[in-house]
Structures are given as C-alpha cells and as structure tokens.
C-alpha cells in the first residue's frame, strides 16, 4: 500500500471521527454534515452495485467489434444515436456515467461519442426528464432539452477531435 492510499484512509477515518464526535458533543454543523453523508451514501450505494454489475456483464458479453462498428470513429451519426439511447435509462448521475464511459472506451467507442454520452446522460435521463416535465412545465423542459442537443453534439465532436489529435486516451 503506497503512501498516497494511506493518507486517504487516514483522512476518511478522521472524517468518521469528526462526525462521531459531533454527535457526541452535539455540534450541529458536524451533525448536519454526518446526516448529509448518510443520505448521500444511501442513495448512491443503492445504485452503484447495479451499475457495476451491468458494466461487468457488458464487458464479457458485448464484443469489441460490435461497439467499434456502432459507436467507433467510423460509425457516423449512428454512434451518437446509440449514445443517446444509452443515456436515457442511465440512473444516478454523472458518477454512474463516468465508469460506463470508461467501459465504452475499452470497447472502442470514439472519444466524441463518449463525450456526447456523458453530456446526454446529464440532460436526457428519462426519469429526470419526466420529473422536470411535471414540475417545471412543458415549455421550460422542451426548450432546455431541444437547445441542449445541438450544443452538446457540436461541442462533443470538436472537443473529441481536438483530443484525438493530441493522442489523448481515456484512463483505465
């Protein structure tokens, strides 16, 4: 175990101690942080195992050739459509989209398509969209969703191509 990892574990233990102490001496701010932490952990830990098992199944069952053909650099507009379809049912938030992006990259999806997927997962998650329609109104939601599409499409292509020229690789 390297020093960097040790430091992180010590920091985490200190955080836990701080929270416990806050509850012991009734330190309100510390208690709020602790309750926030528990609330966040609960919602995230309920999603993450499912997300990672799906990624695992994806890695063993979906061939590299398939993803390369459908989402690779030669896939054209189809790759972006697939990214959009994948983004819809993504649950959670960006923190789930990042590991999925990593898995897609391993299978040969192009950078621009992956960047587009990340943005699309931020904007076009179906459950969120439904909540937005019902709470913020059809007009507001439609403008937001429609204006976003060309913006994230063009920016993903430009940014992806720029990174490709620099021989950038997604970390694994």
């Amino acid at each position: 175990m390297n020093l960097f990892k040790k430091k992180k574990i010590i920091l985490f233990l200190m955080f836990i101690m701080f929270i416990s102490l806050s509850f012991a001496i009734n330190f309100d701010s510390g208690k709020v942080i602790g309750l926030n932490f528990i609330k966040f952990s609960k919602s995230m830990l309920s999603i993450l195992p499912a997300a990672f098992i799906l990624i695992g199944l994806f890695e063993v069952w979906v061939s590299k050739e398939k993803i390369e053909a459908h989402m690779g650099s030669g896939s054209g507009i189809r790759g972006y459509l697939w990214a959009l379809i994948l983004a819809g049912p993504t649950v959670g938030g960006l923190y789930v989209a990042f590991p999925i992006a990593q898995a897609l990259s391993k299978k040969g999806a192009s950078l621009s398509v992956i960047l587009f997927y990340i943005s699309a997962a931020a904007i076009y998650r179906i459950p969120m969209t439904l909540i937005e329609f019902s709470l913020l109104g059809v007009k507001f939601t439609l403008i937001r969703l429609l204006v976003a599409l060309p913006l994230i499409f063009i920016s993903s292509i430009i940014f992806g191509n720029f990174l490709k020229k620099q021989n950038y690789q997604i970390l694994s």
Binding site: K5, K8, F12, F15, S29, V32, I33, G34, N36, F37, K39, F40, S41, M44, S46, I47, L48, P49, A50, F52, I53, L54, I55, G56, L57, E59, V60, W61, V91, G93, L94, Y95, F98, P99, A101, L115, I118, S119, A122, I123, R125, P127, M128, I131, E132, L135, L136, K139, F140, I143, R144, V147, A148, L151, I152, F159, L163, Y168, I170, L171
Partner: protein, 160 residues
C-alpha cells in the same frame, strides 16, 4: 429501485445459465471496478455533504429567487456547479423557487449545471478523464448551460 434490481437479477440468471465462466468474470470485473472507484466515491460523498452544509436547499431557493437581473443566470450556474443534489430533491426545489419569484433563466442555469458540471464529482471524473480534460469538459458544459439559460430567458420574456 426494486425494478432495477429485479431486472438485474433476471439478466444475471440468464447470463449464468448461458455461460457460468463468463458470468463469474463479469462479477469479478464489477467488483474490481467498484473497489477501484470506491475511494474517489467516498471523497465525493464527503465533499458533497460538507458543501451541502454551506449551500443548503433553503439557501439555494433564496439565491435563485433574488432578482439579480442578467446576473441571476451566472449565480444559478455557479450554485448548480458547486452542489450535488439528487434530481428528486433538485426539481421540487427549483419548482418552489420559481413560484417564489425565481427567474426561469436562473432556474435553467441551475438545473443544467447541476447535472452537467460537477465540482463535487471531480475526484471520480479525474480517474476517468484525467485532470486537464476534466477541467475543460466542465468549463465547456458551464458555457453550454449559460447558452441554454439565455435561450430560456428569451423565450420566457425575461431578457430582450
């Protein structure tokens, strides 16, 4: 959530019936991936819970509701970039802010950056994209959110 996990169990079961070895490998990959990203996830959770102390939902509602004119877009975008709150809290919060007089453009900036720009998710994104690309991606997303908010502002007659 129950739906998600029942679906997952069914496909895991099918996968297991078709190929045991592959399914075992999939679970191994899942476990390894989870453990690898667990430290940055914990880091993210700690940052998020501290940030939420300083920028509480009631404060967000107040800030969005204040009338800063054109600046309100920027304020909404900055607040949305900093905090991480799940959608089922964020949307009702935004709806309440709107009925309390928040502008549609500030709300659009807030909702969009909330989902697209992640100060708090930085530790995870860094592990996937590296520091430099993470920063550029977030900056681009921030500007996209501003453009979206401006268009919303125009359509709701809040600017021009």
């Amino acid at each position: 959530m129950i739906l998600l996990y029942s679906f997952l169990l069914i496909i895991l079961f099918i996968s297991f019936l078709v190929d045991r070895q592959k399914t075992k490998k999939a679970i191994k990959i899942a476990w390894k991936g989870f453990m690898k990203l667990l430290p940055p996830f914990l880091q993210m959770l700690i940052i998020a819970s501290i940030v939420l102390l300083f920028v509480s939902p009631s404060m967000i509602s107040m800030v969005l509701g204040n009338n800063y004119g054109g600046l309100s877009i920027l304020v909404g975008a900055i607040v949305g970039s900093i905090v991480l709150i799940p959608g089922f809290i964020a949307y009702p919060l935004t709806a309440i802010s709107l009925s309390n007089g928040a502008s549609y453009m500030a709300s659009a900036a807030f909702v969009t950056t909330l989902m697209m720009v992640g100060f708090v998710t930085f530790p995870i994104e860094k592990k996937v994209f590296g520091t430099k690309v993470t920063i550029i991606r977030n900056v681009i997303s921030f500007f996209i959110a501003i453009i979206i908010a401006l268009v919303v502002g125009v359509f709701f007659g809040e600017i021009f």
